[in-house]
């Protein structure tokens, strides 16, 4: 078995605290998503590449270095730079544990180049995987599920 796990290089430096006031403190409820499959559309429409249907692929993508995002209830996507103490935006234990989970996040929002970047300072509530769309879509994509016979 070969595991390719990559984590993000964006270590928020020790100077972060001094500069945090330049961002905006926010509290956002949403789902931790696989931003690549969500934006690319190559694995399915947005309803299929979220939730339990896409959970396995989301793990692969996060482990492979794809930054996770927070899909808010209003449809806004926040690119997560860091989640509470884990200096990664992908592939870290925290990111993997929260893949596809709905969370309430408290953190600092940075807007830049038309994108929303979020440093999650605290996961206020981990609601777990609440979007059980595998009942509608099955696993998306199907090949994300390893074949135990091979």
């Amino acid at each position: 078995m070969r595991i390719i796990a990559m984590s993000l290089c964006l270590l928020v430096s020790g100077t972060f605290g001094a500069q945090a006031s330049e961002g905006e403190r926010v509290q956002i409820k949403g789902e931790i998503i696989d931003t690549w499959c969500y934006y690319s559309g190559v694995m399915g429409g947005p309803d299929a590449v979220t939730g339990s249907a896409h959970h396995t692929c989301a793990l692969w993508c996060s482990a492979g270095g794809i930054p996770v995002g927070l899909l808010a209830e209003d449809g806004t996507v926040y690119m997560v730079l860091k989640i509470k103490g884990d200096a990664n935006s992908a592939g870290g234990d925290t990111q993997l544990n929260l893949a596809s989970h709905e969370i309430t996040a408290d953190g600092i929002l940075y807007k830049r180049d038309g994108l929303n970047y979020l440093v999650v300072e605290k996961v206020v509530t981990d609601h777990g995987i609440t979007n059980l769309n595998h009942e509608d879509y099955g696993p998306i994509p199907g090949f994300a599920i390893p074949d135990p016979t091979k």
Binding site: M1, C9, G41, G45, I66, P67, L81, I108, D113, F143
Partner: protein, 208 residues
């Protein structure tokens, strides 16, 4: 090996076109919002001087010799994971910018100087684009670059086919010609979107 194929498939699906979707269909993807005027300073002080060697053996610092903007990625030339998608994306962005008369260099700074040598980086990167600049150096010299950009990575294992496999970052840094970090680019942006972001940082021709 099955798991490796799955990971690569998951990554490659985004790096390539929709033709790699399950079946041949593509799906409407939500658009990244139009760029707003809002700009928040990045929450860290990143970037700084480094002195490395490019894939031709020439010395290279954080400044582009021709003063071009630079798209900088930390990875390795034969990385089967995110680099496999990010590096071609950087090359395509460079082409899109060139079509808009904006000069930029895609730059890969290796995280493995044993794997990526002056001799080996050029041919590997040329398979992606002749525009690519590969930078390597001594562990000490590279360490300064990693420190400047706050790069962390971890060797996960040795793969029989690909060699060392690393956990490493995936954002692309946009530097000006002097080597100052202007912004970062998530690798999930489409080439068009990334080129659009970069174009906003480009100085008009003749501007100092």
């Amino acid at each position: 090996m099955r798991i490796a194929r799955l990971i690569c498939a998951a990554l490659l699906c985004g790096g390539a076109s929709g033709a790699l979707a399950h079946g041949s269909e593509t799906h409407a993807a939500p658009a990244i919002p139009e760029q707003s005027a809002a700009v928040t300073p990045l929450p860290w002080d990143i970037g700084g001087p480094f002195a490395l060697v490019d894939h031709t053996g020439a010395a290279r610092t954080e400044a582009d010799p021709d003063g071009k903007m630079q798209l900088v990625f930390f990875g390795y030339a034969n990385c089967p994971g995110i680099c496999n998608a990010a590096l071609p994306m950087m090359a395509e962005v460079t082409d899109l910018l060139a079509a808009r008369d904006i000069a930029a260099s895609p730059v890969l700074i290796t995280i493995d100087p044993v794997l990526d040598t002056v001799a080996s980086m050029g041919p590997a990167l040329a398979e992606i684009s002749d525009d690519f600049v590969g930078l390597t150096g001594t562990p000490e010299a590279l360490g300064l670059a990693y420190k400047a950009f706050q790069i962390s990575f971890t060797k996960i294992m040795d793969d029989p086919k690909h060699g060392p496999i690393y956990a490493h970052g995936s954002h692309i840094y946009l530097l000006d010609g002097a080597g100052k970090v202007l912004t970062l680019l998530p690798p999930v942006l489409s080439p068009d979107q990334a080129a659009g972001v970069i174009a906003k940082y480009a100085k008009p021709r003749g501007a100092s």
